[in-house]
Amino acid sequence: MVEAKNLTKYYGKTKAIEDVSFYVEKGEIVGLLGPNAAGKTTIMRILTCFLTPDFGTAKINGYDIFENPIAVQKSIGYLPEKNPLYEEFRVDEFLNFVCELKGIMKKDEKVKRISKIIEECGLSDVKNKLIYKLSKGYKQRVGIAQSLITDPPVLILDEPTIGLDPKQIIETRNLIKNLSGKRTILLSSHILPEISMTCERVIIINEGKIVATDTVENLTSKLKGVKEIYLEVEGEIEKIKNAISEISGVKSVNVILPIKEKINKYVVLTDKEKDLRKEISRKIVNFGFGLLEMRIEEMTLEDIFLKLTTKE
């Protein structure tokens, strides 16, 4: 549905993105993840034909961005980064203009689509208000409404939840989730929970290059290879270390820091497949130490992200 091939773009001499290729299947929700200035917006602007790549090309819905930009633009709904709107208009007026600009000219069809989208995006209370008077959350909904009004097969959302309060973020996220199914959605964010909650697949991008692309689960397990168990134990450090190390499957035991006298935190790295909590706890108790806390530390998307995007 969305296919980017070797996209490269320079702004003057600064390289924005380099050799970016990816593919998004029909009906997939894919997150474009990266720190600020990684090139997310540039990629989206190229896909929407707002910018022209220096090298490479892209296809959306089977149409090439160079050969048939109008057809590409017809098949996408785009929410730009800062959600710019013609704020001097009323909501329904604005949506009416968007309809016309996107080529829906028949009056009854316009009316039908506008009332449907107002319903879907929860804008019925504010449809007669001027856009600049709306709250940020409502403006965001208007932004999403304008991208959806023609019912395009592909949605491109650039940081759809930026600057919203937590409640609005959840609302927007639910709205996006409800849109999935028929539609192909490409959304960008530098907020990681965002992506892990809404997207099936993640493309991680840093300094203009794709560093990883996979499902959230696969990325986690691929990068980990080991399981981390956190322990808080009362007792002598050396004895505890030795005792735990003896268990088969334990790769290493590290002491993090003493909390109080004799109470220490340990990180035990074990094989990915095994759950060694039982053995460890039995051993500690058998040796007569006090087991205060034990938990498996899941690697979050944050960890993966930082691992991938920071140089060591």
Binding site: T48, P80, E100
Partner: protein
Amino acid sequence: MRIFSVYKKELKSYFTSPIAYVVILIFVVISGFIFYALSAYYSLISLRYSEYPYPYFTLSPNEMIARPLFHNMAITILFVLPLLTMRLFSEERRIGTIELLFTYPLKDSDIYLGKFLSCLTVLIIMTLIPSFYLLILEKWINFDIGVIFNSLLGLLLLGGSFISIGILISSLTESQVISAIVTFGLSLIFWIIGWISEIVGPKYSTFFDFISLYNHYENFPKGILDTRDLIFYLSISIFFSFLTLRILISKKYRG
């Protein structure tokens, strides 16, 4: 029909913000004042010469009211049109709505022409009002209506050139103020550039005479419709429109 969609949106924008009303108001007040001054002077003169039949019959209302009125209107639109063109691309670029407009399934030329025509429409509304004064006065004085229409045509052609210059500048900057100032300066230079034609010598004088926007305007209020003037103004508009379209494309490449 996409041009028409952009056109409607732009026109609505003009009239939801106070800008079009303010510009039209200022223009109408100024041209109303000029009209009053000219027709008062005309009535004074015709009263004075009413006892002398020969000079009295040579007094022409067209020459004494309509022609200077249209000359002054040309200078007035030179002042006020930058205020109408300044926002067309600058504001969209500053607010970011340009990203909406250019990602909708529209051709650059649709967007450009929609904006151009909406601005031209405001100009037409603006210039029709003073023309009505003349039509009202027609009840008592015999104007040559053809000349008035010819002058109006000249004014719109001239205005079209100013608008195309204005949109070009507007597409180059995000600041509306800079856009307005540069447009005004550039329009004024094109207006007065003919002045140096006598200084630069015969070799270049024809050139400077030719590119002066003012020189080509002179004929219209006289009632002369010269195809050279017509084609001159159209080519100026087309030239600047072409430049603007190239700039819009280059922005896509340069980011």
